[in-house]
């Protein structure tokens, strides 16, 4: 994707590009997700927050086709879809940065970035254009990576995370899922990732951002969706939510927030 193209004038007001309803997912004895719904519009950043084990990563993996939900529907651009697998999700235009990064340690940075989306000239790989594009992507993230021809195993944790983020920008995604993308990043790189999230939004992409950092979430998100114990616990517009409210919703210390919101929303709609 090219981030230099003129932005589409959307800002959270576009139509829903991805929407999930009634998602259930069970792992053996653990009901990881119960009746979860989530909607992302074009040009909108939705933050997904919740305590450890709340089911955020599981939801991300359901969207990206790694797990199949036990029940529930996924609509992509208002069409019901079945995300059969990661390749299917990519074809739809869903790009994901996984919490565990999912990089191939034995391959170099370029190979990892373009894995599954290799540039080719005839039957052969086009290493030159991939390497050029790799440097361009890494520069937009202010990546501090000395060489793109070294195996990913020899990169630092933050460099690996940058590679994983850069990988989600390869191709032409419509929705980008970021599962704790800044957990290992330095100050400058975190700021770059937040800038990137805003740029993605300005270009009309839908972004789902999982993060434990409330300051980051409040800085870039348009809406904040809270998961608790695998259920939708609350949903806020960022400008309406205080950190205290968020924390309360995440920890469940004050259940009435949910009730208050529910009441107010029905009022607004009714």
């Amino acid at each position: 994707m090219t981030l230099t193209a003129p932005p589409t004038p959307a800002s959270g007001t576009g139509e829903a590009v991805l929407s999930l309803a009634g998602i259930h997912k069970r792992f053996g004895a653990v009901q990881a997700l119960t009746d979860v719904s989530l909607t992302v519009r074009a040009g909108e950043v939705v933050a997904l927050v919740g305590d450890n084990g709340a089911g955020k990563s599981t939801l991300v993996k359901v969207i990206s086709g790694v797990y199949q939900p036990d029940a529930g529907t996924i609509e992509f651009e208002s069409r019901p879809v079945v995300v059969g697998g990661p390749a299917g999700a990519q074809e739809l235009g869903i790009a994901t940065v996984f919490q565990d990064l999912a990089l191939c340690d034995n391959l170099d940075v370029v190979a990892n970035l373009f894995l599954g989306k290799e540039h080719r000239r005839g039957p052969l790989l086009d290493e030159v254009s991939m390497e050029q594009e790799a440097w361009r992507l890494l520069r937009t993230l202010s990546a501090k990576i000395p060489s793109v021809r070294i195996p990913v195993a020899s990169l630092s944790g933050g460099q690996r995370q940058t590679v994983a983020i850069a990988r989600s920008l390869v191709g032409d995604p419509r929705v980008v899922l970021l599962d704790e993308p800044t957990a290992a990043l330095g100050v400058a790189q975190t700021a770059e990732v937040l800038n990137l999230v805003e740029r993605l939004r300005d270009h009309g992409l839908g972004v789902i951002l999982v993060s434990h950092n409330m300051a980051d979430v409040q800085a870039v998100a348009d809406r904040i969706v809270v998961l608790r114990l695998g259920r939708n616990a609350a949903e806020f517009r960022t400008e309406e939510a205080t950190t205290d409210q968020l924390v309360a919703a995440i920890t469940g210390a004050s259940d009435n927030v949910v009730a208050q919101r529910a009441a107010r929303r029905t009022e607004e709609r009714g």
Binding site: S64, V66, G85, P86, A87, Q90, T96, F98, L101, A102, L103, C104, D105, N106, L107, A111, L115, G116, K117, E118, R120, P123, L124, L125, V128, S129, E131, Q132, W135, K144, I145, P146, S147, V148, R149, I150, P151, V152, A153, S154, R167
Partner: protein
């Protein structure tokens, strides 16, 4: 050398921490650093080959005679082709223990069709390769759909296809006529001197051309191009080496068709592994299967292609071995072939842990094993010693792989 005047650093050389190689001395130093860091590549096996050759040469100078080299290269080819398939499977971190029996069984299928039933040679070859492909597909289904570990189903295949060989060859062995095309190809066809030198010239020209093209493209794209001098030196070494080998082999019969076929398969597989999407995906799945799956790689197909290729190469190796010996018997492709092929791939430097190796591993590995066999034969040593020595070399190779792995992880080379 002269390009260092450029004031603007190439895109990929901008980071100040990057240790750049400019002079030939830098390249040597970098190479040394790589070796110390455990990135041994082909070095141990090349060194091993040199040592083995030196030792046998000291005992028996005819070991390195032109005649002896020509026949070594011929006899190494069939098992080497089987070892190529093993390399592909090992890259995925899997194993195929049944290549030997598959090779024997497929050769028997060919022999029955061509010799017993009198069909055309091409039909026989196609049938044998087809049976190989079917076996590979069956393995892939077992692995991908059912989830049986490759160790188990290939062990089952080892026994089953040995049985199938006995069943197909109900009345002993089948002799392949010496004048049949296949036997001629494997035993009596050699490149003429002119053909051989022309082939060497073509190979060097292709190498040089592709490297120069790369230099041009990378320079145009603002990336550091490969060092021109290094490329020229490598091309000269390649041309000189191959030219000298051609001259030396030409004193006897020269390059056998079979040897050339093996070498061509090595080069083609190497290109497939390094330069195509399929090869990239093979390495990715071998390195981190889950990551490859999440990146959209069709992991099942990757496994399928590897098992099919391995079994087809085993079938091809079996055909050629049968043609070379002009017979298929009840012990065609039994344990010896199996272990030699697997040992060759590992000795050549293919990691048993997946994701690391190259097609040249099969070539170098089989050369090591073949020279041990030929050398001990020359010295009139029995096969008991040969097995022990081969076992020792295999153990050494795996030890080197494990030690290098540890060195790599402490020096950041994955």
């Amino acid at each position: 050398m002269t390009a260092t005047k450029e004031s603007v650093a190439a895109t990929d050389a901008a980071d100040e921490r990057l240790i750049r190689a400019v002079s030939p001395g830098d390249y040597l130093r970098q190479g040394w650093g790589r070796i110390r860091g455990g990135d041994l590549g082909m070095l141990p096996v090349v060194l091993g080959l040199v040592i083995i050759c030196a030792v046998f040469y000291a005992y028996e100078p005819t070991f390195l005679s032109s005649r002896s080299l020509v026949s070594m290269l011929l006899y190494a080819a069939p098992t080497g082709i089987i070892a190529l398939g093993i390399v592909v499977v090992l890259l995925l971190g899997e194993i195929d223990l049944s290549v030997g029996s598959v090779s024997g069984f497929c050769a028997a299928v060919m022999a029955v069709i061509v010799v017993d039933q009198g069909h055309s040679l091409w039909l026989g070859i196609a049938a044998a390769l087809g049976v190989g492909a079917l076996i590979g597909t069956a393995y892939a289904v077992l692995h991908v759909r059912v989830g049986v570990p490759s160790f188990v189903f290939s062990l089952a295949g080892l026994l089953a296809f040995e049985g199938a060989l006995l069943w197909v060859l109900a009345d002993g062995s089948i002799n392949i006529p010496r004048e049949s095309g296949l036997a001629q190809f494997a035993r009596n066809k050699f490149l003429t001197d002119a053909q051989a030198y022309a082939l060497v010239a073509v190979v060097v020209a292709c190498y040089l051309g592709s490297r120069l093209w790369t230099i041009r493209r990378r320079r145009a794209a603002g990336l550091t191009p490969p060092n021109l001098l290094a490329v020229l030196i490598k091309a000269a070494l390649l041309g000189g080496g191959l030219g000298w080998l051609t001259y030396y082999l030409g004193i006897a019969r020269g390059w056998g068709y079979l040897t050339v076929l093996f070498a061509a398969l090595v080069v083609v597989l190497d290109l497939l592994l390094r330069k195509t999407r399929w090869g990239r995906h093979l390495f990715a799945v071998g390195g981190n299967e889950e990551a490859a799956r999440r990146a959209g790689v069709r992991v099942g197909w990757t496994y399928c292609s590897a098992f099919v290729l391995c079994s087809v190469l085993a079938a091809l190796g079996g055909l050629l071995a049968a043609a070379q010996l002009t017979s298929v018997s009840q012990d065609s492709g039994t344990t010896d072939t199996n272990l030699t092929a697997i040992a060759a791939a590992v000795i050549g430097g293919t990691s048993l842990f997946g994701g690391r190796g190259s097609a040249y591993a099969a070539l170098l590995g089989i050369l090591v094993l073949q020279s041990i066999e030929s050398g001990l034969n020359l010295m009139n040593v029995d096969s008991d010693v040969r097995y022990i020595v081969t076992g020792g070399v295999l153990l050494l190779a795996v030890t080197i792989d494990s030690v290098a792995r540890r060195a790599r992880s402490s020096s950041g080379r994955g």
